[in-house]
Symmetry: C2
Subunit: 608 residues, 2 copies
């Protein structure tokens, strides 16, 4: 068999593959991220790519199911299904590559209280009456500071660095640990990177730890996406494939190295001047990042391998920064309440409110925390995916082309991210749409989309025409495309998905209130964290009944709290220790064990 | 060029070499230790091997100089000179492979006070109401003990070990560090190895740290020997050759792995059950073992890279034991007073004497320490080599075939190690011989061997006949071989070597007494450490004037004190800390800087 060449655009990445691999398999080998929510099982239809050049095999049944004839005409294929006969040129749509929302922390000023420091030393040179060892000479130079025993790799460089630089060197310290000794005076160069490893996206912030400034932000799609969109498929992959864990770890490390490279190049900084990396992420992501098996996270009772703050040297992971840099992973609270939530709790200062405060972080998962009288409760719900567009017929994440706001009066008005023709709907748009449709009487209290027959004469005609019957039930057209197939619709199943999601969140929140023995009206703050929280209309979110019954004025958006918390923990040792304190303090409530959860959930399903 | 095969016996180790390498070069590649005192420069004549099979090139000038015709007949060649035409079989004499003297610590009972311990845990299994992380579950199981943050490599094994063993595991701890988690109950298996890395020989002791027993001892020639017998040539090699340092490090590590293999196999022990290795050696050996450049040790002011106790994980060095085992290198005092001396000081409890005590360790170097009123002084002399047979015409180390005792009355009687025909003379034999010859009037007070003419009729005829004139001056025959060339003689140069060595020791000892402001008669103990010290006759050593003027009754042999100290430091954390204390406390006196040293040295040269 001769080698077949596949080139992926827009990256122009070429790969030779001797076997008849699917495009998805080839992309994984090439390190190209294709959205593959179902992990290639052929059930999600998300792995759309466009064949620009080359011949493909006939459509599979799965493709016939998911692709319209206009798709097929354009050369759209499902990457997990499609194989080609020879060389192929494949265009991968850049879903999710514009993540400006998450990066809003750029240029943020931070309070510096880091344990990283540099000391410039002009040491006395050895002479016949001063024959201290190089190590002792150096440590004596750091006058009186308690220094841990030196690591061998540092020790081995010291004799050379001292002598090549006339005994004028800079010692880089993290706490009591001597990390590195550098030639000459490098005191003005101390950098760190805060990373938020999301299931979908990895975001990095570059901090100047001399000035206390976030000087750059960058993000990339998590390459692990090609093994499935959710943590469960990643856990499965790591359990079932040889080297699966290693593969997933390498994927995320390579994304991180790319991010760090971009950050340092843009700012003209030497990667060797990065001495600390602070990592947050959900518990599965933290495990995969560290190369720890997430197997026990995949089934009840969802046990993590570790939960405390973990510090490891960069060389142990192969991060391309100073090889002695410290990589700090913040603690997690439970299998489904990760260090990203801990970081968010830190950023919103959840424990500093008088009275009680709730934080809801809706990312790929939905974590809820409640602080009250010095106590802290957490739970996690499976709410997230719907808000990121998963399982929604025209769902997509909050990127260019997504409908993010919907207003319904006599007709339907939509706001689209990037002001382009919409190609789907994101979480905030979905909530808006449902909220507005309920108000318009088009969706009833039980969440059913009424038929044209039900509503004949009862709603404005323009709206009435948007009701459409499809194989899966009733649809409502949010936006008319050039052909019927291009219309963006809300389906009955979409409404059910949202209903489940919002009910989970509401039920989780109610259970925490019960656990803390307080009422919704006692809440002084309900904070919505995550990109989602920043863009959703409070009014809609309250109107669909996703939150406990609180006054709109206590609901706040807190933006990318996880990222902010990571930055805080990187720039301040105290904040870091406080994160550890919060994680230890939290009482995690496992909802699946609560007899009262199902009832709460059922109660929360209705729209009223 | 076709490959040439060289097989080394008795190891039967084969090596293919495509170039025209000398046998010494090939042996280095093959990892075979050939004694090469001059490092292959062709000046020592020690690298004798026997060509068992195969054709060699004509003798070089150097070989003609060093080899007798009977040597040549037997196939003897100098490895650094000889190249062959094709395949060769080479027999390497096993000089120094029988080191029973150093191993005398076998079966020694030790007081156990180790910081290594095992705890068997039967942990509660996780369930829906107990979802602690695996790491926390384990640490909670170690009730209340302060445990350092877990290392990633340990962490990564924990989820599997716990689940595969029904949550019944053994935790191995060293101090606050969790080293390893093992399946089931392994409490009765805790072993450690104490290593004394000598310039010439590496000795290892296997300790059962449950029972507190030395259960095995083994030794090997330090493979670095093939790069030169003394530390100076090793330093040069590491400075001048590409990869020289790495090469020397690998040599000593491979010797250590061999020793550990032998020890564990003989005792039916799994190498994974070795959790600690305690290393002592002179400062250069410690540096090479750790892969630290000894460059600054090669010239005044002789600065070591490190001097404190150093602990590193076994995997960082590639020692074939439990990969998480701790390798502990005891502290050194100065460039030429190493951790072996510190260990010896620990073993002889130098600081526990009432009054004052001196220890003299005569190995390859000669270190002297003086404790007095809570103070501790050290110095080092270049005395050693002569006592190990270096630079002595028929010199050899104290191994089988060495003359170790000499008595002279009307004739000469020699004791030979192993009761075989002698093939050389070791340090204790040399001192005996000179002492006896001085007493017999054959060597005068200045150290000159008198000629037959000088002594005509003045000494017994049998002795008179042993005086022989050679190109290098006057010789004295200690033992008649089958031919003249096989005779074992003491040369004038040998006497000069000994004279220099003993004068160095004496002068060093006198300087320390002066520094401490005490007199020789104040010494309550003069301890002779090292294999040498155990076998030399006190009477002779005093009679040649090597020691300050003390009563014979305060002179003790303390045997292999360095090895004993290493064992102590391995079996007891307190002893280890005390070693660190002694090393810090010591005031090192650099003899070369003392204006009074030369005078003391000159005074000490005479035999009287
Ligand atoms: S259908 Fe292809 S990845 Fe889901
Ligand atoms: S003469 Fe061969 S090594 Fe010295």
């Amino acid at each position: 068999m001769t080698d077949r060449k596949i080139v992926f655009y827009p990256e122009e990445k070429m790969i030779l593959t001797g076997e008849k691999k699917t495009i998805l398999e080839a992309s994984q080998k090439a390190g190209i991220a294709i959205e593959a929510t179902c992990g290639g099982k052929g059930t999600c239809g998300k792995c759309r790519v466009r064949i620009q050049h080359g011949a493909r095999e006939p459509l599979t049944n799965v493709e016939e199911n998911f692709l319209s004839s206009s798709d097929v005409e354009k050369g759209i294929a499902l990457a997990c299904q499609c194989r080609g006969y020879g060389n192929l040129e494949v265009f991968v749509p850049e879903k999710g590559n514009e993540l400006s929302r998450k990066l809003s922390l750029e240029s943020k000023k931070v309070l510096l209280d880091t344990d990283l420091r540099k000391e410039y030393l002009e040491l006395e040179k050895p002479h016949v009456h001063d024959f201290r060892s190089d190590a002792n000479r150096l440590i004596d130079g750091l006058k009186g500071k308690q220094i841990n025993p030196l690591q061998l790799d540092v020790l081995s460089t010291i004799p050379f660095i001292l002598r090549e630089n006339d005994f004028k060197v800079t010692a880089v310290l993290a706490g009591n640990e001597l990390l590195v000794v550098e030639a000459g005076d490098t005191r003005n160069k101390i950098y760190g990177v805060a990373l938020d490893i999301g299931t979908t996206t990895v975001v990095g912030f570059l901090l100047d730890l001399c000035q206390g400034l976030v000087i750059g932000a960058a993000s990339r799609t998590n390459k692990q996406n090609s093994y499935g969109a959710d943590v469960i498929s990643r856990i499965q992959f790591s359990n079932e494939q040889d080297n699966g864990l290693k593969c997933l770890q390498e994927d995320v490390l390579s994304v991180i190295n790319e991010i760090i490279n971009e950050l340092t190049q843009q700012n003209g900084i030497d990667i060797g001047s990065i001495y600390q990396v602070l990592v947050v992420g959900n518990t599965v992501m933290s495990h995969l990042f560290l190369g720890l098996s997430p197997a026990a996270l995949g089934k009840s009772p969802f046990i993590p391998a570790f939960s405390s703050m973990t510090v490891i040297p960069a060389y142990a992971l192969g991060l391309e920064i100073n090889h002695r840099a410290q990589v700090i992973v913040l603690p997690n609270i439970a299998g489904y309440v990760g260090s990203d939530t801990v970081a968010a709790l830190l950023a919103v200062k959840i424990d500093k409110y008088t009275g009680s405060a709730m934080m809801i972080d809706l990312g790929t998962n939905g974590e809820i925390a409640l602080a009250c009288d010095g106590r802290l409760y957490t739970c996690s719900t499976a709410a997230g995916p719907a808000f990121e567009g998963a399982h929604i017929y025209h769902g997509m994440r909050a990127v260019k082309g997504a409908i993010e706001k919907v207003r319904i009066d006599k007709t339907v008005t939509v706001d689209v991210i990037g002001n382009v023709a919409p190609c789907g709907i994101c979480g905030s748009g979905l909530i808006d749409a449902v909220s507005e449709l309920v108000k318009a009487g088009i969706i009833n209290n039980n969440g059913r989309i009424m038929s044209q027959k039900d509503l004949d004469g009862k709603i404005p005609e323009e709206l009435w025409h948007r009701l459409r019957h499809s194989s899966s039930g009733q649809d409502f057209v949010l936006y008319y495309g050039t052909t019927d197939a291009d219309d963006i619709v809300l389906t009955q199943r979409d409404v059910r998905e949202l209903q489940m999601a919002k009910a989970s969140v509401r039920a989780g929140a109610e259970i925490l209130l019960k656990e803390a023995d307080i009422k919704a009206r006692d809440l002084n703050a309900v904070m919505l964290a995550g990109a989602f929280g920043s863009f959703v209309r409070k009014e809609s979110i309250l109107s669909i009944g996703m939150l406990p019954r609180v006054d709109e004025r206590v609901v706040y958006s807190v933006g990318n709290a996880a990222g902010e918390g990571a930055i805080l923990a990187l720039s301040s040792e105290n904040e870091r220790n406080h994160a550890q304190y919060l994680a230890r303090k939290a009482t995690h409530v496992e909802l699946s064990l609560r007899a009262d959860f199902n009832r709460s959930f059922r109660d929360a399903c209705a729209f009223m």
